[in-house]
């Protein structure tokens, strides 16, 4: 057993877990945060993407013990609680999901992508950056549209914040 201590969605969490516990299982089964999904066994689908210390990672390919000491944000903690996060809102408005299984991972990957490209995004970049996220339903078209819309909305939001 390992004692792990991490900050999850702003909350300090301490627990004793089996060393083989994957971060995704820790989130889902120990903390009840079932928004993060498991879609494969091969580290390829990205349904499990969360942010660890500000970076998108596959939580199915990391032990909870490796994450000890880190700050984790999951889909449940993305918005500040007052409404949808701009990326969530863009997926809703642009019909960026069908069954929704891949969506938490898509949104966490999209948020990370937008953060890493303050200069803005174009379609080719979004498609290349979605390499690690698989969607079985949408054919990606509306996911790409959602991310481009979110990236623009967030850039404008920042402009406003600066002006204010």
């Amino acid at each position: 057993m390992s004692d792990v201590s991490l900050t999850v969605n702003g909350r300090q969490v301490n627990a004793a877990v089996e060393d083989r516990t994957l971060l995704v299982h820790f989130l889902r089964e120990h903390l009840g945060l079932t928004g993060t999904h498991v879609g494969c066994d091969t580290s390829q689908c990205g349904a499990c993407v969360v942010h660890v210390d500000g970076k998108a990672v596959k939580s199915c390919t990391m032990l909870a013990a490796q994450a000890s000491g880190s700050t984790v944000v999951t889909i449940e903690g993305l918005s500040d609680g007052t409404g949808l996060h701009p990326v969530q809102a863009a997926f809703k408005e642009n019909h960026g999901l069908q069954c929704g299984f891949c969506t938490p991972g898509m949104i966490m990957a999209a948020t990370d992508m937008i953060n890493r490209h303050p200069e803005g995004l174009d379609e080719a970049t979004v498609r290349a950056e979605l390499e690690g996220n698989i969607c079985r339903c949408t054919g990606y078209h509306n996911i790409v549209k959602s991310i481009l819309a979110a990236s623009q909305a967030m850039a404008k939001g920042k402009g406003r914040a600066k002006a204010a």
Partner: protein, 265 residues
């Protein structure tokens, strides 16, 4: 996953001590080891996390000499401004490994210690005539990569860093497997004072190798046109469901041309 005990090494000596445990494995980014453990293809009783050892991290560029710590992630290599200025080819290579999430965790040390026959870094290090620095010795890439998933590393030996001298020109091109993004064939070319080196990954039956016909043609003239009409033998190349050995032999030439164009671009 079978039961495992996780250890977080605070220093190299700490890691070396922990490694004395039977069948213990080092854990870096975990992007190869954890999937293997999940599918029970690997079942180490102990894993030793190396990523909190400060000495293994970071990139130094001093003049023409580059040193990359073993626990440096693919994303860090891809985005390092000094390295981009000195040797953009290796940043380009790192930026095309897997996907963004894999690049945030996977490391150069883990990649070369694993020596997957379709991994990208082995081609770069062999073409750049890099030196692999371990806890026990320094050895040339040529001596380090030994075949399929095999290296010269002995039990308990840790890769600390890789070091190379920036060549005058370098470029990398790969034909990625559309599902995994590993190289179905990737060629890294480097041209400098010591001559031309061209290393091929994803194609060889026995892992990464130097292609002499490509090197000979480029030594005469380091331009894509010099590879017109050059062919490489398909003996010793991989044949699998993705591509035959003959197809890969053709890809070696095509990727070499693109790599030279990137280098001279």
């Amino acid at each position: 996953m079978y039961s495992v005990t996780y250890h977080r090494a605070a220093s190299l000596s700490d890691a070396a001590k922990l490694a004395k445990k039977d069948e213990a494995k080092f854990l870096s980014g975990g992007m190869t080891l954890i999937p293997a453990m999940k599918t029970r293809l690997a079942a180490p009783p102990d894993v030793i996390d190396l990523t909190h050892i400060a000495e293994l991290k970071g990139i130094t560029v001093s003049g023409k000499s580059v040193t990359i710590g073993a626990a440096t992630t693919h994303a860090e290599v891809a985005n390092n401004a000094k390295l981009k200025a000195a040797c953009p080819a290796i940043c380009h290579l790192a930026s095309h490994i897997g996907d963004p999430h894999v690049r945030h965790r996977g490391t150069i040390g883990g990649s070369i210690a694993n020596n997957d026959p379709a991994a990208d870094y082995p081609a770069a290090l062999l073409a750049l005539d890099a030196t692999i620095v371990t806890t026990k010795r320094e050895l040339a890439a040529e001596k380090f990569f030994k075949g399929l998933f095999e290296t010269a590393l002995k039990d308990g030996e840790i890769v600390k860093a890789v070091r190379f001298t920036v060549p005058a020109k370098a470029g990398y091109a790969k034909f990625p497997n559309p599902a995994s993004r590993y190289a179905m064939t990737g060629v890294f070319v480097a041209s400098g004072k010591e001559g031309v080196r061209a290393a091929v990954t994803g194609a060889g039956d026995d892992g990464v190798f130097r292609s002499r016909p490509i090197e000979a043609a480029l030594a005469r003239n380091f331009e894509a046109a010099a590879l017109e009409g050059v062919s490489v033998p398909s003996d010793g190349l991989m044949s699998d469901l993705h591509a035959s050995a003959e197809y890969r032999a053709n890809l070696v030439v095509v990727m070499a041309k693109r790599a030279v164009m990137a280098a001279t671009g």
